[in-house]
Symmetry: C2
Subunit: 116 residues, 2 copies
DNA sequence: CAAACTACCTCATTATACAATATAGTTCAC
DNA sequence: GTGAACTATATTGTATAATGAGGTAGTTTG
């Protein structure tokens, strides 16, 4: 089953920041990373990727700079800020709450009905 | 911590259908049920509740009828359809996929960094 | 009788995701 | 040497979900 966008709504920021928390990276690489990490079930669309970068930068969660590639297309690298790290931690805490709530609805009561 | 709406985005349908999968119910009762089930962390807003009912009915996932209360305000009861049950099962399967993906990002790599 | 509660509803606004579209350099098979 | 596939970034317009703000109306209780 493929993962569609409405299921991910609101978590794009967190996924991208998670990637950047390891090291600086650029759009194309992050996109591929997420694709692979999802077992090729979820591909972030380009429009989403770049609008999310604009938002994150505007909110101060990331900063960006142009890489100096000697060959190939130019790359814009993104770097997570201290605010971005704090925001990511917050998002992770939130995720745990959401997961608990949704599991209470979807899993706990329905386990016997929905074979995985 | 309270659960905000953008984290729940897209799962309102599933939560409501889950309530209705047990028995027919009406808006106000469903709202209270969700509030209690979340440990008073998440309250579905009324506007969201009723726009979701409209959508679910339009999509054929629920049907509705007016209850014949002998006293108190009128209640519109909702009933889940066969299509609604199939849709709910689909949503639950999707939830498991999403949970796995988000855990891969948020939990697996960050466990040591974010004390619960 | 007024406040609090039960119960329903709609409209306009906002935010996120994305299809469509555009630009441009690189690599590689034929 | 050229065309396809790939690398890489970006914007604009559209669709949808959630919700703030507002409205209606009956019931209970102090």
């Amino acid at each position: 089953m493929n993962i569609t966008s409405d299921m991910i709504y609101g978590y794009t920021d967190g996924m991208i920041l998670c990637c950047l928390s390891e090291q600086d990276s650029y759009g194309y690489a992050i996109n591929n990373f997420i694709l692979e990490k999802s077992g090729f079930k979820y591909e972030l669309k380009e429009a989403t990727l770049y609008t999310t970068f604009r938002r994150l930068e505007k909110q101060g969660h990331v900063t960006s700079y142009w890489g100096n590639e000697s060959s190939g297309p130019r790359r814009r690298y993104y770097s997570i800020t201290q605010e971005g790290r704090a925001y990511l931690k917050q998002r992770i805490r939130e995720w745990k709450e959401i997961r608990q709530l949704m599991d209470a609805f979807f899993i706990d009561k329905k386990e016997e009905e929905t074979e995985t």
